[in-house]
């Protein structure tokens, strides 16, 4: 005998989820989980390594030294009149953040299939935790960047940080948003088509060449300039350099372009992810 309707049905399970049914209220409950996943990420990364988190600083430092030798000394590529060390370091920090964040997000389904197959929680928790974890790494790496900045600003007086520095958090938010949005879209696609995984790293490498990491935007020849300029990461890299080093092509309008790209990609990413998360689970 069916009893009367449930007085207050607190939840309902339906065949399909909406595009933007974000369940924000429920998600706040999972903030501890986000932080826990970030913590796990750190604990696990440096278990059984000799240098531990020092690698976070060592890695960009070594890359910078390599770039100085290859691109500056051997190839003689211009650094916009800036000293090579802070020039490359700035580019590498920005690029590394993006190039580690994006694949970390796009592998959401493949690396969590076992958990997703057993427990329900808002799936968005995992990519968000991946981004937070990368943000934390980035912050630690800034600990390397600032002494270098101080040295070149106060002692060598070859770079000129300015007030745009205050907009730095905005740059990072836009950057993280683009990485998250792109990663989310790719996570859904790679869950469905495994072969796309191979393309992600190839695509990242291509993208690095159209981002002013190892060269300033000012020396880009007009032939490929269009491709470099429509890359939404370009204004961010240039603005980052302009703010801390005093040189770079910066305009608020160009930054706004980047912001709009971020908003569109992120919106599309979240919508797609939300819509497809359940279906993706049936495939895995």
């Amino acid at each position: 005998m069916p009893s009367p309707e449930i007085p207050v049905p607190a939840w309902e399970i339906n065949p399909s989820s909406g595009w933007l049914d974000l369940r924000i209220r429920g998600s706040w409950h999972y903030k501890d989980l986000v932080l826990r996943l970030v913590r796990r990420d750190f604990l696990v990364s440096y278990r059984q390594t000799v240098l531990g988190p020092i690698w976070l600083i060592l890695q960009p430092l070594l890359t910078t030294l390599t770039y100085i030798v290859i691109f500056s000394k051997v190839a003689g590529i211009s650094t916009d009149g800036l000293p090579a060390m802070p020039f490359y370091l700035a580019g590498i920090l920005v690029w590394n953040f993006f190039s580690e964040c994006m694949p970390a997000v796009s592998s959401t389904f493949s690396s969590n299939a076992a958990i997703f197959g057993k427990v329900y929680f808002p799936r968005l928790v995992v990519p968000v935790a991946a981004v937070v974890s990368q943000l934390l790494r980035f912050t630690i790496q800034l600990g390397l960047f600032f002494p270098v900045l101080l040295y070149y600003t106060l002692y060598r007086r070859t770079i000129h940080p300015n007030l745009l520095m205050l907009a730095f958090p905005l740059l990072i938010v836009i950057l993280a948003g683009i990485a998250l949005g792109t990663g989310l879209i790719l996570s859904v696609l790679t869950a469905k088509y495994r072969d796309l995984n191979n393309l992600i790293y190839f695509g990242l490498r291509l993208m690095m060449f159209v981002t002013p990491v190892i060269y300033p935007l000012s020396i880009v020849p007009s032939g490929i300039r269009f491709w470099v300029r429509i890359n939404p990461l370009t204004p961010l890299t240039e603005a980052f350099r302009y703010a801390f080093l005093g040189k770079g092509q910066f305009s608020w309008g160009y930054l706004a372009y980047s912001f709009i790209c971020m908003a569109v990609i992120l919106f599309a990413g979240i919508a797609l992810f939300n819509r497809m998360e359940d279906q993706a689970m049936d495939v895995l």
Binding site: P2, A10, I13, N14, P15, R36, L43, F121, M281
Partner: protein, 425 residues
């Protein structure tokens, strides 16, 4: 009548065999092109009627409707592949139904989640928090129950050791301890009872009993263990091929299950020697196991005597004895008995052997027959020709784990006081 906590309405779940999509980008793009651009029909069109395209899909569940009332312990039983796991997955929101809806209130926690998210490299302590967070507890809730979890798991000494150094038993205990302390309104207990040692199983069932009886919590119990279902559940549902075939009193539902389960090979017979298995000496005519339950049509359990009978065409006059072996499905022989050697004429011969009740343990068994001439020469063997499943039955026992042993004879075991302590002295 208690209030309803969860209402499941016409839920159905369809899986595509293989992968969703065609699995490759090219084929999917061709599909899309055909469908959208050339306006042709999708070859994987959403199916509205009863499975019209049986080569791509299976319905794991169909027309499932039931409700779970506050405070009840609802048992779900069924064979492997009946849809139990799918139903649990839908209830715990891991996957969505293809049709229908489920409404309810309260937190659902399921013990199929045991150990999810455990990371080998992390310590027991870290894993308790990680697992707890994944299962939906916040840090405050976990901290307040930490001591209890630790005690229940019994791994206090190793709590700061990475779990990769744990034995599998410790690992499972710790994992279960977290899940058992979730404090959900509705607890889903799956077949996890199969893991861990006997003492731990007891602890788990005890915890489940606690949760349902003392705290009045609602439990959804999924198991193959009929004994446990009968003892713990207030109501049961039987799933068969994705449909509910029986609901109600656990005893009746279990009887239905055991009855429907008798698809085992109880009889083989042939009408002419030409088509029968055998050779120039022997042709099998009939082999049969007849369970002899106390009441006709009753379940075949460990109390039931089994009569094994056989008939064969004897083609040569010879001295013959028949050996009969009872084997587990794993092929281990439980016993090997033999008839005396008898001089048989040409014609049809028959024989039988009665396996008494209260002798075999629960499980599935098969029977092999051996035809031996002059007590030494094997003429023909008819191996693993019949099989039967013997169900468990217990009385006055509150332990539901697997009963050990190949046989379970009813030998009397005596227990009494030898020398009572005199309170006066």
């Amino acid at each position: 009548m208690n209030n309803s906590l969860i209402q499941v309405e016409n839920v159905a779940k369809r899986y595509r065999l293989g992968t969703i999509g065609t699995g490759s980008l090219k084929a999917d793009m061709m599909d899309w092109w055909n469908r959208k651009v050339r306006n042709k029909k999708d070859r994987f069109q959403e199916i509205t009627e009863e499975d019209k395209d049986p080569n791509g899909y299976i319905w794991a569940l169909q027309d499932i409707s039931f409700e779970i009332r506050e405070g009840e312990v609802l048992g779900i039983i069924g064979r492997n592949g009946a849809g139990k796991s799918t139903l649990l997955k839908i209830l715990s929101r891991v996957t969505r139904p293809t049709r229908g809806r489920i409404r309810g209130r309260g937190r659902i926690a399921s013990l199929l989640e045991v150990g999810t998210g455990f990371h080998e490299e992390l310590t027991g302590r870290e894993n308790i928090f990680l697992n707890g967070n994944i299962l939906g507890m916040n840090n405050r809730e976990i901290r307040s129950r930490f001591e209890e979890i630790l005690e229940f798991s019994g791994v206090q000494k190793y709590i700061d050791t990475p779990v990769k150094r744990y034995s599998s038993g410790m690992y499972v205990r710790l994992a279960f301890a977290v899940a058992a302390h979730l404090d959900p309104e509705i607890l889903i207990v799956d077949e996890v009872l199969a893991v861990g040692d006997a003492e731990f199983q007891k602890k788990c069932l005890g915890k489940m009993k606690d949760v349902s009886e003392r705290e009045g919590r609602t439990v959804l119990f999924v198991s193959h263990n009929m004994q446990a279902v009968q003892n713990l559940c207030s109501r049961a549902i039987l799933l068969q091929s994705g449909r509910i075939v029986s609901t109600g009193e656990p005893r009746q539902v279990i009887a239905h299950y055991l009855h429907s389960g008798r698809k085992y090979d109880l009889l083989q017979q042939w009408s002419t020697p030409g088509e029968a298995p055998g050779n120039q000496h022997i042709r099998i005519r009939r082999v049969e196991i007849q369970p002899m339950p106390a009441e006709p049509g009753g379940p075949v359990d460990i109390r039931t005597p089994l009569l094994v009978s056989f008939e064969f065409w004897n083609l040569d006059p010879l001295h013959l004895c028949i050996g009969l072996q009872l084997l587990t499905l794993g092929g281990e022989c439980i016993f090997d008995v033999s008839s005396p050697s008898v001089l048989l004429q040409q014609g049809i011969a028959c024989g039988e052997c009665l396996i008494p009740g209260n002798f075999l343990n629960d499980g599935a068994y098969s029977i092999s027959l051996f035809f031996v001439k002059d007590t030494s020469i094997l003429l023909y063997s008819h191996e693993e020709c019949l099989s039967i499943e013997v169900a468990d039955y217990r009385e006055n026992v509150s332990w539901f784990g697997k009963w050990e042993g190949y046989v379970r004879p009813d030998f009397p075991v005596l227990l009494q006081m030898k020398l009572p302590q005199n309170p006066a002295s």
